[in-house]
Symmetry: C2
Subunit: 147 residues, 2 copies
DNA sequence: TATTGTTATACTCTATAACTATA
DNA sequence: TATAGTTATAGAGTATAACAATA
């Protein structure tokens, strides 16, 4: 018999903080995401980079980083790993030699296609927790918060 | 002159994913949080642990981890660091020697009090982006998503 | 056998600072 | 001078597996 296990945990207001609520929701999304893409070895961030590179062939490394809220050094780590795995290619820009243009490789495109199908299932599973209208409201509020 | 910089980045649907929207919002919250608690050396997670320990003196390490969505090993890393810094104390439970009861130290309580004041400002700043009613809606939807 | 904590290990994200090359 | 990328370094969160102690 354990008194403590039976006792409800007091949150002392922690669970009323926006920061806490978002962190928990992101944690739940992350775990479901990881389960959904098992075996593909693609994190949320890596997928986002691949996704943007495929949608914007030749996009600058820094632009992708800025779009995803990462600084240059963080972006380097990510792109370096993707390049090592042959999922993206880096090319020097002809118009500005400082730039590195990112391109999706065939392997990258194939892997992204597989990931997309898995993510669709994952998104569907999470969205089922809300109505369509609630989903739109949530997205809109999250966008305002991030902006 | 750079064509690319002038061109709007195509998101190709990425920004319509719930996973993406939450990640971006969490990123924004995290950056604002870190700016708010500058100098205290307390991450969101560390603060959450301190907060729960203070609200539940003698709480089990595993319970805190479960409440925050962390597994035992992850929790160990966190508690270990807090203990090293003298912010929490670990004691063997008398009723169940497997358990470790967590207690806040004076230094931990003092630091948490300072953090709380900073976090209140941070929360206020972020909440200003929404109306009161929107804030409540957002919290409720996030809770559903995490549950 | 099941549970709690622990350790070792590994990977990812994150950022700062200093550096190179280019504009 | 300013910008884009790079490298080195460091801290933090995350999880898996194997292990010890205890129930």
């Amino acid at each position: 018999m354990d008194d403590r296990a039976a006792t409800t945990l007091q949150f002392g207001g922690l669970d009323e903080l926006l920061g806490y609520r978002i962190r928990r929701a992101q944690g739940a999304m992350h775990r479901d995401y990881m389960a959904a893409v098992t075996g593909l070895k693609l994190t949320q961030k890596q997928t986002a980079v691949l996704w943007l590179v495929e949608a914007n062939p030749g996009v600058g490394q820094g632009e992708v980083g800025a779009a995803l809220g990462m600084d240059r050094a963080t972006m380097m780590t990510l792109v370096h790993r993707l390049e090592e795995r042959g999922l993206v290619a880096r090319r020097r820009s002809r118009s500005d030699a400082r730039r590195r243009e990112l391109h999706s490789t065939e392997a990258g495109a194939r892997l992204l296609a597989r990931a997309r199908r898995r993510i669709a299932v994952h998104e569907q599973r999470m969205r089922e927790k809300l109505s369509d209208s609630e989903f739109r409201t949530l997205c809109s509020l999250l966008r305002r918060l991030a902006g």
